[in-house]
Every structure is written in C-alpha cells, then in structure tokens.
Symmetry: C2
Subunit: 554 residues, 2 copies
C-alpha cells in the first residue's frame, strides 16, 4: 500500500501513541502490576515477584508444552492469553517493548478457540490457542502501521499480512504488537514514537534490533513465540541480546506480503520474516505450521519446499551403526572485528562440551573476505541513496537517530545508484556467493558453522555499529539460527590487554568492551547452514543441545 | 567475464567466421553432402535423400532410445556422434543453423566414452555418449563467444558453462554450436555474423529465436537434444516453429553461470536455460541428469528441488480406483492477439481428441490482463534503456536489425530507469503475479493450461513481433512446455474474413496471415504449469500424448 504522511509534529504523534498504548495495557484484566520508579539494571526477576504463580507457570512454558496442553484442553486459550497479556504489559513497563496490546480481540479469539475445542473435540490447527507476538510493521487489519516513522502513523492496515492469515488458520491468537527502530535498520530499537526499548538483563544495554521489541518481550517471557523480520540481523540480534532463539530462514520460504516498509520492490538484498522463540521446538513448530499450508500457492515468489520435520526424520549423515554424525565448522572470529571476551568464552565452553563426543567433529572454519561481503551488502541496502527513509523521517521533523546516521548517512557505501551500478554490484554479490560456496565445498566440508551472533553481547545503547556477524548470512542467504548458551557475561571476562585493533571498526568494538558494562548480558551464538538447509540447522542445534547439555551454567 | 570489443568492421568479422564454420563442416568425415543451388521451400525431406540409411536411423531416434543403445554398447558413441555431425552439417547448409561444428573434440570425447564403456563395462553417467547441441552464447572452453554481436567476436571462453560441466559429467558429447540473433532478443534468428537461420519446413519462414539455430537443427534431426535459453520465448518459439519439444523450466532450477550476454547482473526478469528435444522423454532425461547432480551446491542462486521422475511416481490426482485425473484449462486466445487459424485448429483438434476421455476434464481458462503483463515485462527487459545492446551493435558498425529495432527502439516501454522506477515496476510485476495466482486459485483450479505457443505458426522473416504467448509465462515464471501436435498448416486454414482487429498488434498479426504463406509450418502448442511444477507439466503432456495419440495426423 502507499503510505500517507500525517503532517503532524512527531511529539504530538508520539504522545498520542503512548497514551493509546497505556490504555491498551490498562485494559488488561487482571490489572498489570505497576513497577517501582527505581529498578535494578537486571529486571528479569521482577515478573516472578509481581505475578501470580499460575501466570508464571504458563508464561515460562515453551510453546511445545503449551500447545500440547492447549490441544487437550488441559489449559484454555483464555487462560494462556490472559497470562501472556499480563506479563507482556509488565514487560513493556520494564523495557518499553510493546507498541500496543490487543486484549479485546485476543480474548475474543481465545474464547472462540476454547468454545471450538469444547464443541468439536478437535483443534482448528497445530498452534491452537497459542498467543503470538508480532513486530509492528507486520500489517494487522484495522491497526496502525508506521514502520517506526512518526510521519507514517495513521496508516491503517486493510488486511492481515499473509503470514498472519496462515498463523490464524493454524489457531494462533495475536495479543501484542512490538516496537522497532526508526527506518527498521538498526541493531537497536528506538524511534520517535515510543522511545528506546531496553534489554531486560541490563537496561543500560540495547535489546537489539530491529525486532527488539520482540527480543525484550521474549527475554522477559511476555511472549513464548513472536514474529520478526531480518535483512541484516534484525531477528538474530534481538534474539541473541535477550537470550532467546531466533531463526533467519532462507529467503522465499515464508510469506512477506503485507509488511509496511520503505523500498518496497527492492530485491537487491531480500528481507526475510521468521520466528523468535523461547525454545528451539517453538522455531520448528512455527516453520512447520506455516509451510505445511503451502504458502507458495498464495505468494508466487515463494519456493515449494516442504518443511522437513527433523523430530521425525533426520537430515544428518549416519555412520555404519546408524548414529548421526555432525561436522561443525567453528568460525570464532570473522577476521574483521574480533568478538568480545564473553563471546569467545561462550564458543570455547560450548566447543569443549562437544569436542570429545564421538559423533561430533569440530573443525576450524576460516572466514572468507567478510569485509568484502559488508561492502557489497551495505552498498545494496539503500540503492536510492536512502531517499525513502530520509523523506519519511523528515516529514515529521523527528531527529535522525544516531544509528540511522551511522547506516544511512555516514556509511560511505550508500549512494543513489544507476541501474548499471546496481547490476555491477549484483554481479559482485553473486560472485561473492559463488566464491563462498566453493569455500564451503573445500575438502573439509562441514554441516553447519558455529559462529558468534555479533561482535559482543548486547552493547550499550546507540553502539551497535558492526553488523558483520549477522549481515554476512543475509548476503549469502544462509539460514542462521541464534541460540542462548545459557552463559552470561560477567566480571571474569577480562579485557584483552595490549590488543592492537585491525581497523577502525575493530578499534571501536575493542574500546566498547569493559567487563562491568556487560554484566548479566546473555552469551548467545549462531548456527549457520547452507542455503535452504534450514531444517538441518534446527536438527544440528537439537543434537548440539543434547550433547552439550544446553543451557550451560556460568 | 568482461567482453572485449574487436574493433573490426563487421563484414570482415563475418567473413572470417563463415570461413571458419565452412572449415569445421568440411572436416567432418564422411563428408557432409553438398546441396543443390535451388531447393524447395520445405527441405525436411532432403536429409533422407542424401544421407546413408544408418545415419538416418540414428539421427531419427529419440534420445531415450539412443541412450539405451549407447549404454549397452549396441551403438557406439563414435557412430552416433559421426551421424549427427553429418546431419548437422547438412542441416546448416539447408537452414544456416550452425555456428560451428566440433568434429575433432567430439570424436575424441566419443572415443574416450566408447573405450570407457568397453573397459569398465559401465557408463560414466546417465547420458553416456549422447551428442548435445549448444546455443552459441553458452560458453565452451577455448571457443569464441559473441552473443550475436560482431564486435564481441574474439572473446574466448576460459571454461565451460556450469551446465556443460554437469552434462559432461553425465556423459554427453558436445559436437555443434548453434546460431542466435543480434542481442539475443528476437523470436527470429539472424545476426551480422552468420545471417539468417531459416525454417526447414518452409525456408520463407523464421526458425524462431533466439535459440533458432537449435530449433532448425532439431527440426532437421541434426540434433536430438540441445540447449537453449529463454527470457521471452527463446526456447519455445524455435521449438514451436520447428515442430520439436522445448521446455522453459521454472527459474533457478538449472545453472545459468557461464552465459555470454549483455545486462549481466540484471534480475528484473530472470532468463532460464533449458532443453529442446525431438522427444518428450529427452526433456525429462535432460532435466533429471542435471538436477540429480545437485547443481545448487555449485551455483548458489539455485533452489534445491530434486527432479521428480514422473515415469516412476505420478504427481497427478487419482480417483478412487487409482486412475490419474487431469484438469486442463484451455486458453486459446489471450484476449490481445487472436491466434491464426492453424493454431486454433490445432487446439480444437487436440481438445476434441481429449474431451470425451473419462480421466480428462477440459475447462475454458480465461486470460487475465495479458496486455498488462506485456507492458510490465517489456518495461523491465532493458532497464538501462538498451544501452549495452546499442553499444555492442554500434561498436562494429553492423546494422540494427528490424526486430532489434522493434524490441529496443520502437518499444515505447524501453527507457533508462531510475532505481525507484525499477522498484515500482517490480512491485507491479509481483502484484500481477499475485493476481494471476488468485486467478488460477479460483474455483475451477486446473492442473495445467493448454495454450498457443505463439500467435501463429512460424511467421515470415522479420515479422515475429508479438511475444505475448510466451513472454506471459516468463513474467509469471511458470514452467512451459512446447510440443508439436503433428499437424501442419495448410491451405485449408482459411482467413477469418471480416475480422475486426482489437488493437494494432492484433491488426498486424491478422494481416500477416495468408494460408499460402504458412504451408507445411508445424502447428505446435504449449502446456503451462504452476511455478516449480515442471515435472507435473511433463507428466501431463505424457498423459495427453497417450490419450490423444500424438502426433496427430493432418
């Protein structure tokens, strides 16, 4: 749809939207608890202090357990939705992660599902009764869409995005919409409408972005399963920063139609939509529920690849006795920006827990020109020179936020390209992908790559400037799955004294690290597979989790 | 690769290339027969008059029969390749369809394969010993590549295109390279290097294009299986015009890397590569031999969809007793340009042969805004305004040929686009595709569409101006398979007197039709499936052929 400009000052727009949000939270029954004016940096224990035990039990259950109980009627959808509405309202008070709650429509839907199950003795779909949180720019009929721009507020979606229609068919309940940053292009979440979303493990740190509202909400267990989008790390950065799972699927597997964004029609780098989840099986269920509905029959750009459920059939190699074998390439450092000590500890600890197992083979995976990959992808992100973003920002007078400046204005690769320049960069992109394919095909061919999800744990606000650990896999279009190790950063993760930075970005990242800044930040990692081997990545992580005994203990 | 310009007058380039071709044909042993100065319009019977019976028997066998005999050693690859070299040389003398023959490298390869089979008692791959003809711009190591531009002659491929490497692994022999038009963008084949390729059924008519060398060569049985490329009809037009099979596969199934062409890096409309074959099973074998090698492991843009061999497992619906059911939508007329009488007779005759069968259901399939599809695709073909084509043409002083003028200069949709204009057209393209998907999903959902392959049989030279019957399926990226009905145009196909043309294109096409012009031209049709249902289209045509008893008799 074409987006209309509201021609209002951004402060007025923001005030109205904040008031609207307040009302939607206030409409939740039982009432969402208030929070103290002064809070600790780590707010993750507060929900347990303020919410009833049955709400805690429901909201701390993973999707697969909830679905099992919902499908048998042991839990009603009304009870589950009520619990998540309460905890999401509280999470928003703690981290500013929600754009609006939807208590009325969610409870109407939950009641319908409960009545249906009671009457028909069967579920309406595989996700019957499960509440799902949704990033704001995924269009929901009758509700505002603004893509993080104050000037776009007042656009109202006329129908649900296709992914929501399919999830609806599967039995979901939509109860919360979550925040996103200006222009949707930060690994951070702040905009002129809602302000900054903070990290529940340490509110001085960012929740990540651009699906940072989802990240913080799931980190606080105000949701067990949510929808994000990712063109450079926007699912995985918030998943990593908040200690939850997040999958960037291969492109053209899940339907994208019905997203509010700039640059509609741009195909140079394809965005994807995908799940954030408090459990690995939630990721699997989400993908399966959608792809089982053959979305390619409705969105013609999608590829008709069924979702292979690896809980039933393994995709890994077997040895002579039928044991599954997993060869993991470890890419600890991309050669451009060295990860912070907690991340390197996370990789080392996980590798130590895996490497003596007879079915696991650990191999170093050397990086291949990751700086070149960033040059290409960052040249293709804004092929119009960022004109659409600047127009949307300027229309309301809202400030260009620091990380928008970073990616859009200070980024030397952004300029208005001619068609020939786009073609040349596209050839470079395809050439790089072909070279990386050969790199992977080299004699030590691995099943998956284990690598950081970022150059550190969640950084302080406005400091998430290095995208390489996630954008690398967008350029290559490899499925990439972020997961929590269970470890958290702490004072024991000392600065590497005397380190000589390799380049400006590396120096920036090195300077950013002080152990005391990052206390309690989740240490997350990323597992990457070949293009369209999404299911294999999920299975590999399941095997890794079992063998290493994830979550690890600090 | 970047193409260098030879800075020679086009006439000198042409003379040298024609002499080179002559020498490669002269090198064939036994010698290729000469042809009379004066030939009938229909030259298809001449090979039988001039070639030995064993050559005729081999060259008139379909691929599947040759492969069966080659794999058991009943036929040697040397004998098969020798036969096809002779007949291809003759075909070129009759229709100017060959760019060069490759007798020395082909016979070396054939001998290697014969020795291998003799020594190891097994084949090296599923196409062991089979000769395959290749359109010129598919790069072959050590040989010239020019994409139909005189100025590009002198560029030499440093390696084989990926598709050739895979066919080589499968056991093929490359023995002939075939002609293509200036800029590769005509439904006709003529360029400044080789001149015009003619239609063997009626040399006043075009062989079609841009894979017209392949079309004429297969039409004369100088090849049984060849490689073409298609972005608007370039496999299907020559297949249709010459009475052979041609498949435009869905994009990203077969590898494209290693094609010489302008506009490398352009993704607005994706070209595809695919087979032309004298038999339907040749199409199936070609696709299976390539896709079984998992080309997505080498070319990262490809989709990892296995080729489902429908000779083993049906993809069609079954009734209660296990009988396959096929629902065919018949789209006789796209609503823009009414097909000529022979084409309409072809559809009617085939439908009559099918419609009383209990397993076939015939339904009218209404067109959906095909003129709009042409506006979108023809706006996206040359997003740089045709700058690269014009530069390549002008560099040698060669004339801009009439059909280049038509598509590039007179086409009102061609202009240099800005990035925003490309994005807008891309949205229109995706919007059209989504609308056509809904059209297909309407309550009469069909398995395949039966439709013309063009607005008439092969037209006279320089008259193939309406692309809509093929480009429609490029825009939608639907697999589309052209096949001969067995019927041929004749004097009984009368002009529809008093017809009032709908528009300029329709008037042009109507005026083009005189029964005497088209005598003997093959009547071919096209079967179209949903995106990525290539195998289902092949199976549907196999079922149609069996039930209707194809080829039909005039």
């Amino acid at each position: 749809m074409p987006y209309k400009i509201n021609h209002k000052p951004w402060r007025d727009v923001s005030a109205a939207m904040l008031e609207h949000r307040k009302q939607t939270i206030a409409a939740v029954e039982p009432a969402v608890p208030g929070v103290a004016d002064s809070l600790p940096l780590n707010v993750t224990s507060i929900p347990r202090q303020l919410l009833p035990s049955e709400v805690i039990e429901i909201t701390e259950s993973p999707s697969e357990l909830l679905i099992s109980r919902l499908s048998t009627g042991k839990l009603s959808s009304t009870a589950v939705v009520t619990a998540f509405l309460q905890r999401a309202g509280l999470a928003s008070k703690l981290t500013n992660c929600v754009a609006e709650l939807l208590p009325e429509r969610a409870l109407t839907r939950a009641k319908y599902l409960d009545d249906y199950l009671s009457k028909h003795r069967q579920t309406i779909g595989p996700l019957h009764g499960l509440p799902i949180s949704v990033k704001e720019h995924v269009e929901m009929a009758g509700l505002d869409i603004n893509a993080g721009f104050a000037a776009w507020v007042g656009n109202v979606a006329t129908s649900d995005a296709l992914i929501l229609k399919l999830l609806w068919n599967a039995g979901c309940v939509f109860y919360a919409r979550t925040t996103e940053p200006q222009a949707l292009m930060h690994l951070e979440t702040d905009n002129a409408i809602y302000g900054t979303t903070t990290n529940p493990f340490n509110t001085n740190l960012t929740a990540g972005g651009s699906s940072g509202g989802e990240g913080a909400l799931l980190g606080l267990r105000g949701s067990c399963l949510g929808i994000g989008t990712d063109i450079g790390g926007s699912i995985r950065s918030p998943a990593a920063n908040n200690g939850v799972f997040g999958l960037r699927p291969t492109s053209y597997r899940l339907p994208l139609s019905g997203l509010a964004a700039t640059m509609l029609g741009a195909e140079h780098i394809v965005p994807v939509i995908g799940p954030l989840s408090t459990s690995l099986e939630g990721i699997n269920l989400f993908m399966k529920a959608l792809i089982d509905q053959q979305p390619w029959l409705y969105e013609p750009s999608l590829v008709p690849l069924p979702w292979k459920d690896t809980t039933e059939d393994s995709l890994l190699r077997k040895d002579g006795t039928g044991n599954r074998k997993l060869r993991i390439g470890v890419l600890s450092d991309d050669g451009v920006v060295k990860p912070h000590p907690p991340i390197l500890r996370g990789i080392q600890t996980l590798v130590s827990a895996l490497q003596s197992h007879p079915d696991i083979e650990i191999i170093p995976f050397p990086p291949y020109k990751h700086a070149e990959a960033w040059r290409i992808i960052s040249s293709l992100y804004f092929a119009d020179g960022g004109a659409e973003e600047k127009a949307a920002i300027n229309a309301s007078g809202e400030a260009i936020l620091p990380l928008t400046e970073f990616i859009l204005t200070q980024n030397p690769n952004v300029k208005e390209l001619s068609v020939h320049e786009v073609w040349k960069l596209t050839q470079e992109r395809e050439g790089y992908k072909a070279a990386y394919t050969r790199h992977w095909n080299s004699d030590q061919m691995v099943d998956v790559i284990l690598t950081p999800a970022g150059p550190g744990c969640a950084p302080p606000h406005d400091c998430a400037r290095y995208w390489g650990y996630t954008s690398q896999w967008n350029l290559l279009d490899y499925p990439s799955l972020v997961f929590p190790t269970g470890l958290q950063a702490g004072l024991e993760d000392k600065v590497e004294e005397g380190y000589k930075p390799r380049n400006e970005e590396d120096g920036y990242n090195y300077e950013l690290y002080k152990p005391e800044t990052y206390v309690d930040a989740p240490i997350s990692l990323q597992l990457v597979g070949r293009r369209y081997e999404d299911e294999k990545v999920v299975e590999a992580l399941r095997m890794i989790s079992e063998i290493a005994g994830l979550p690890l203990k600090n």
